[in-house]
């Protein structure tokens, strides 16, 4: 399944300003971006180009200084902190560069975590988490703790945690940044597979053109603006 044309999210003239007066610094200078359901978008750009700020706004963890963010038909700017959290809980999944798994917690429990906050019962949690781990190819590793897993495996657990709730949007912040090229390819294949087979929209920040090449669309940031927006 590829892009089906339905708009998933829409950024309109988003600016983000840090600091006040003289020390004012623009992280985003008015960007507009529309992402459709089922797209795989790579976000590129040098450090300080505003791509991380943009990701934080997409992930409802930060509010823009100006402009509008529509997630489906919801104006995110009008939501309270709690409502944005609930939006994350129900529709978003996150994958980070540093994996961000809970230490001293088994892979299974890590994957169960988002279900716990969704109020899913214990047994159903177990079943869904096992399924998600199987999807990322980690059947049999359920009881291993992060420090007993390789980097690639840890990132797979993180991806399992992100998709166990069947999110509409998967936000991946340099998911291959800490991995060697072979592990990176495996992770990218996994993301592409999730995008194609499950229709999960993926927005991925990356520095590496090799990784960006997996995406259908590349958005290039520079100095708080979108420099290029190319579809393959």
């Amino acid at each position: 399944m590829t892009s089906n044309g339905d708009t998933l999210l829409k950024l309109q003239a988003i600016t983000k300003v840090y600091g006040m007066g003289e020390a004012q610094m623009f992280a985003l200078r008015g960007i507009s971006l529309t992402i459709n359901q089922g797209e795989f978008v790579a976000v590129m750009g040098p450090s300080g180009s505003g791509k991380s700020t943009c990701m934080n706004i997409l992930g409802c963890m930060d509010q823009p200084s100006d402009g509008h963010y529509w997630f489906r038909d919801v104006n995110v700017g009008t939501l309270s902190r709690n409502q944005r959290t609930l939006l994350r809980r129900h529709y978003l999944g996150f994958v980070f560069q540093g994996f961000n798994l809970l230490n001293r917690t088994t892979a299974l429990e890590n994957v169960e975590l988002p279900l716990l906050y969704r109020g899913v019962g214990r047994n159903e949690r177990r079943v869904l988490a096992r399924l998600a781990l199987a999807t990322v190819g980690l059947s049999g590793w359920e009881t291993h703790k992060p420090n007993e897993l390789s980097g690639g495996q840890q990132q797979r657990v993180a991806i399992a945690r992100a998709i166990v709730t069947e999110p509409l949007l998967l936000l991946a912040d340099e998911p291959t940044g800490n991995l060697d090229s072979q592990r990176s390819e495996e992770i990218m294949d996994l993301l592409v597979q999730l995008n194609r087979e499950r229709g999960i929209t993926v927005v991925m920040v990356t520095h590496e053109p090799d990784m960006a090449a997996y995406a259908q669309r590349i958005v290039q940031f520079r100095d708080g603006l979108i420099e290029r927006d190319v579809c393959h």
């Binding site: 809980r89 230490n103 716990l116 109020g119």
Partner: protein
């Protein structure tokens, strides 16, 4: 809503405690010690109070003690001439509302029988001594009024002395030595245990007063007169009559103060139990402070834990945990720590108080109220001291928390 918050927070909190078992135990230690100290002190304190009250009740409720010297507060007096037997006789004759009057003199001396000897307390008194002091016979007989008048060489002994001198053999009818005096043991008193002042009331020999004065003390002094009043008579009126008699007997002019004092045992009971209660509350207050310190320890650890787990909190927030769910998690963790500490403290206190009460021979007076309030207090400590760190965790910005190393 709240129950849903708790059901998700409780397993997380318990798991977190298991992961940091050592730290959890150390954190709980403050609460454990605090709770245990409060309960042990309050239990032993009320046991002591109860014991004092019981002992004084066993003295007889209408007992008055008359001793020489000016009254200078409880148990203290300046020196003054001793009483004479005639003083006691005058009281018995003139104060009508009395049941019994027992003049007394006593000293310490060595009692000897066969090859055993034992330093003991020797008291000379009359036949009324036993009823006034609520002493019952275990064997033999008491000495009679006639023996008291004639100064017969007979004595009644206490259980401790019997054990030390006679062992397994029957002391009744046997002669033992008290200094230069050889006297016949005619009776054995039932054991009574420690007095409220801590002396052994069974390590005694009771002689007729005259025998004691002539053979042991070598004078005719009477150190103390015990008096028991009839039921239903106000002791203040009795005290007043006794004072009039004694002032006349001791030739005190109107300008002079009493050089003796009359103490109602009820007053002493009040003073003593008041003192032990005060001590109990003071010690418990000190122990209560250690509970507070334990609470500060929990707050400290929870604050450290919030900082240490900032990244974890960031992950949870990003994944979709609400601020109040994070708050509930940390608050529940603090409360679980403090109440677990409270329960362990209570169990420890039960064990310690049990052992100490046996060692100190104090009745074990557990109060469910004390235990319940210690538990509630420890839970409250968890809520109060856990709230600040929990709120700090709940208010973290997920972006910054995720960046935290």
């Amino acid at each position: 809503m709240i129950s849903k918050l708790l059901t998700s927070a409780l397993p997380i909190a318990v798991r977190e405690m298991q992961r940091n078992l050592m730290r959890s135990v150390l954190t709980m230690l403050g609460i454990i010690i605090g709770v245990a100290a409060v309960i042990v002190l309050m239990t032993l304190g009320s046991g002591t109070t109860q014991q004092v009250t019981e002992q004084i009740a066993s003295l007889g409720s209408n007992l008055l003690m008359i001793s020489t010297g000016k009254s200078m507060g409880p148990m203290q007096s300046s020196t003054a001439p001793k009483f004479k037997l005639a003083d006691a006789e005058a009281i018995a004759r003139e104060v009508t509302s009395l049941v019994a009057v027992a003049p007394q003199a006593s000293s310490n001396a060595t009692a000897i029988f066969a090859n055993q000897n034992w330093q003991t307390n020797i008291t000379g008194s009359n036949e009324r001594y036993f009823s006034v002091n609520n002493r019952q016979l275990a064997a033999g007989r008491l000495f009679t009024a006639r023996e008291v008048r004639s100064g017969a060489m007979v004595c009644v002994i206490g259980e401790t002395l019997r054990g030390k001198l006679f062992g397994a053999s029957n002391p009744i009818g046997v002669r033992m030595r008290l200094q230069k005096l050889s006297c016949e043991v005619v009776g054995l008193l039932k054991a009574k245990g420690q007095s409220s002042m801590g002396s052994d009331q069974d390590d005694v020999v009771i002689l007729p007063l005259r025998t004691f004065q002539r053979r042991i003390a070598g004078n005719n002094e009477v150190a103390m007169i015990q008096v028991s009043a009839k039921d239903g008579i106000t002791t203040d009126a009795v005290k007043q009559s006794i004072r009039q008699v004694l002032r006349r007997q001791r030739h005190l002019s109107a300008a002079e103060e009493d050089d003796f004092n009359v103490v109602d045992m009820k007053e002493i009971a009040g003073i003593l139990s008041g003192t032990t209660q005060l001590m109990t509350s003071l010690l418990s207050a000190v122990a209560g402070i250690s509970l507070l310190v334990g609470g500060v320890g929990i707050m400290n650890i929870m604050l450290v834990s919030v900082t240490e787990r900032t990244r974890e909190i960031g992950i949870r927030l990003a994944i979709g945990a609400l601020g109040r769910e994070i708050l509930a998690q940390f608050l529940v963790e603090a409360v679980v720590l403090s109440t677990t500490g409270g329960v362990i403290g209570i169990l420890l206190a039960v064990a310690i108080a049990g052992v100490l009460a046996t060692l100190l021979q104090i009745p074990l007076a557990f109060s469910p109220l004390v235990i319940l309030s210690a538990f509630i207090f420890s839970a409250t400590v968890g809520v109060v001291f856990g709230y600040m760190p929990a709120r700090k965790a709940a208010r973290l910005n997920p972006i910054e928390a995720l960046r935290h190393e």
